[in-house]
Amino acid sequence: MFDIDWWSLALPFGYIFVLGSSLYVFSTIYRKRKAAESANLAPWFPPHLQKEVYSTLLELDADKDRKTKVPRSVVRAALLRRAVEDIARIIQVRQAKQALNNLLQRGSVGEDLNQRFQRAEKEIEEELKDVVMEANALAPGWGQTIFQSANEIAANTVLRSRLDDIQNKAAAEKEWWEKRRETIQSDFMKELEEEPTKVAPRLAATMTPYWSTRAPRSPHQARRRRARNKTGM
């Protein structure tokens, strides 16, 4: 019968064992590192302040030791603020998606950026579902309209801040213009006194307000120019 010579097989078995165990060790270490890396990826968005406010208000409400309860209207307002912030995030995600895909295809950005993005997308989806559920719990049927309202609130806020920026310039612009008009007028009057024959024909020729075509001259320039005129140039 066969008589297996175990001792001569020790070498191949040993070889297989060493190979297998080294592969195993490599794969566990590699996977652990990868998991740690992706866990350490920075989140796409900063912390959701509105969501934290909302959750904190609910916690305050649940606290039995407190004397004053949090009114439902405050909770509803906080949820609406949260939905508005979600709208801003959705818009950001949608805008970034196309650009990111292009960059990824060209290899201009790394894979970890894509991972961060996909995580943000998933997160925002969960967040939307969560908000709809909360809205329906606070007022029946609100889940259907809360994001419509939030959308208008977000757009209106942007519009108003832009209009405010423009209107806030009005005071400074007015001041600038008054000053400039004064300097132009006084310059013009001076010139008119000193050299009526030079200015008057030009004014008649242009027939446009003199001050609107000329930058205010610094006194230094005006003096130089007058000096030049006197020498007959």
């Binding site: 302040l49 509105q50 969501k51 934290e52 406010v53 959750s55 904190t56 208000l57 916690e59 305050l60 004397k67 004053t68 949090v70 009114p71 439902r72 209207s73 405050v74 509803r76 307002a77 906080a78 609406l80 603020r81 969960e126 969560d130 559920m133 909360e134 606070l138 007022a139 609100w142 309209t145 809360i146 419509q148 309202s149 208008e152 609130i153 757009a155 209106n156 806020t157 519009l159 108003r160 832009r162 209009l163 423009i166 209107q167 310039k169 009005a170 612009e173 007015k174 600038w176 213009w177 400039r180 242009t206 446009t208 307000p209 001050w211 609107s212 075509t213 000329r214 930058a215 120019r225």
Partner: protein, 211 residues
């Protein structure tokens, strides 16, 4: 609460028992204070609603009361303008602007843009009649910001104001941009030619002064 709720830090906020306003402790970051201010003002406007429970109604249909008031203010402003009472017209338009900006935030922004751009454009015109070029320029810019396309008058008015103030380079850029948005608008084209002519004249004079 949703089952998926994760761990979060409790924020240092509290509720004022009388006013029901949410307040943060003094050492809290600025962003939190700003957020709570926004929350409280939203809460106030929600509490003012008449329906129960107090949630914002869907954007459409709009409550017609405010629109009617704004239209009334605009029309009386237009009447005053036509009668030559420009300063009173400016006041009327200003009231209209305030009314339009106080519209609750959840009402459609397209409507706000339409109303506010007309009011600003009309106020710019009244300012121009008073030769307040600076204010006119600002108002016309606001009108364009609210409604970019199909607003040739507002584009023209700011261009005209800049021209009157002697800001020729700005006027040229602005009118050029307006022509891109509005296509070949006759008034804008005329204004552009005027600006370019003035720029040429200015350049020639500067050259002759140098020589």
């Amino acid at each position: 609460m949703a089952a998926t709720e994760e761990y979060f830090d409790l924020l240092p906020i509290d509720l004022d028992p009388q006013t029901k306003a949410v307040t943060a402790s003094a050492g809290a970051p600025k962003a939190l204070h700003a957020e709570l201010a926004a929350l409280n003002s939203l809460h106030r406007s929600l509490v003012a609603l008449e329906n129960t429970p107090q949630i914002p109604p869907p954007p459409i249909p709009v409550n017609p009361k405010r629109s009617a008031n704004i239209t009334k203010l605009k029309d009386s402003g237009n009447d005053l303008y036509r009668k030559g009472k420009h300063a009173e017209a400016v006041k009327m338009y200003t009231l209209g602007v305030q009314m339009a900006l106080q519209r609750p935030l959840w009402e459609p922004q397209g409507l706000v843009r339409e109303e506010i751009s007309q009011l600003y454009a009309n106020r710019a015109q009244a300012h121009m009649a008073l030769q307040n070029w600076a204010e006119g320029a600002v108002d016309a810019e606001a009108a364009v910001e609210a409604k970019r396309a199909g607003n040739a008058k507002a584009w023209w008015r700011r261009g005209k104001c800049l021209l009157e103030m002697g800001r020729l380079d700005e006027a040229r850029d602005w009118v050029g941009h307006g022509l891109e948005m509005e296509g070949e608008e006759a008034e804008l084209l005329a204004l552009q030619q005027e600006v370019v002519a003035r720029l040429d004249k200015k350049q020639k004079r500067e050259e002759s002064e140098k020589a």
